[in-house]
Amino acid sequence: MYSAICGIKIGELRRLRSPNDEAHVTRKRNSGCLLQNHLIPKRQRMDTRFTRGKSAILERSLTRPKTEVSVSAFALLFSEMVQYCQSRVYSVSELQARLADLGQGVGASLLDVLVLREKNGKRETKVLNILLFIKVSVWKALFGKEADKLEQANDDDKTYYIIEKEPLINAFISVPKENSTLNCAAFTAGVVEAILTHSGFPAKVTAHWHKGTTLMIKFDEAVIARDKALDGR
């Protein structure tokens, strides 16, 4: 998945730089490895997949017609994922950690594509704006609607909550009594955590049963301090 997103960045970059100038495009392509070296972490530079010429995926547009799949298909896939994770862990917290890991992969990929598609490559710098970006853009891209609520904790300025009454993820999941603390929205928590972390707002996100499902976001101290400093300007 990582490589694919690199691909999108590079493809988009080419498109942005020279939308009409064909000759320029060809030139860029020939010197493609130079351009790419700037975008790819050092350890991957020599990987042939980046240097062997254009791949079809780089040429595809980022704004594509919206395609849809059935919710049942997703529910069945997600159920298999939960079962797979469950077969490899011993406790509920380990299971939630594994689901969150999977969610992180989704969040990291989604952030790149959304920022390019909807924000024209610009990223948020303020805590409130990134939270709104998640509540609105991310939620719409994932679930087709905004999140129900975004709240700040009364007594703590680094804690925020995203509340979803009936999350799509949990729609077809019934939690067994003996594991009543399990909330498979840990997966969504992983998505949100990756988006915040990769946007430069390191945070811990956990899923809880409260007013439906509540994702608790705890930002690092430094994030809040920086935000306050920015406010002071």
């Binding site: 395609t67 799949v69 059935s70 997703f74």
Partner: protein, 180 residues
């Protein structure tokens, strides 16, 4: 623990990107967990099989498709009804074997592989192998044993994605021993 919801025949739809990325995250995780691509392929097939076994009920309930009279009809229902319903695509059915027991599904687009590029060190990974398992599992529940495999895949540089399906036999219904 059945949940009574107002289930309609028309199934709910969602943006395919969450599905695509979730599947991507799953395959990535499997690649981390298993030693080699063959093991990952096998695991994907197994998960697909489990999905298929459950999916067929959902399919029969929603589609109101009756019993198929021959394999050709089965092929049409899979392509035109099932793929359309679950993945929003309609593959074409071609390349029938003379005996009529084997055909290909040609997928022009595959929602599972959006955003995906295979790294060189996973050349034997069959990324979408889950689909084979789903088809096998679902058909087994309607007493058909089939062999399903990917013949071509756009991820490996082929022009189209081709799933080859071969009819093996009709499964006789045997009640398990001791089960009256």
């Amino acid at each position: 623990m059945s949940r009574q919801s107002n289930r309609t025949t028309e199934s709910k739809k969602m943006n395919s990107e969450l599905f695509t990325l979730t599947y991507g995250a799953l395959v990535t995780q499997l690649c981390k967990d298993y030693e080699n691509d063959e093991e990952v392929n096998k695991q994907l097939d197994k998960m697909g099989y489990n999905i298929g076994v459950r999916l067929i009920e959902d399919f029969l309930a929603r589609s109101s498709v009756g019993r198929c009279h021959d394999f050709r009809e089965t092929a049409d229902v899979i392509a035109k009804v099932a793929f359309k319903m679950y993945l929003g695509i309609t593959p074409s059915v071609t390349n029938w074997s003379p005996a009529g027991d084997e055909f290909s599904l040609i997928l022009e687009s595959n929602p599972l592989v959006d955003f995906v590029e295979l790294p060189d060190n996973h050349s034997t990974l069959v990324y979408s192998n889950l689909l084979c398992g789903v088809l096998r599992g679902a058909l087994e529940m309607v007493q058909m044993a089939v062999d399903v495999r990917f013949a071509q895949d756009t991820l490996r540089g082929d022009n189209v994605t081709e799933i080859r399906m071969k009819f093996i036999k009709r499964i006789e219904e045997n009640l398990p021993a001791g089960d009256e």
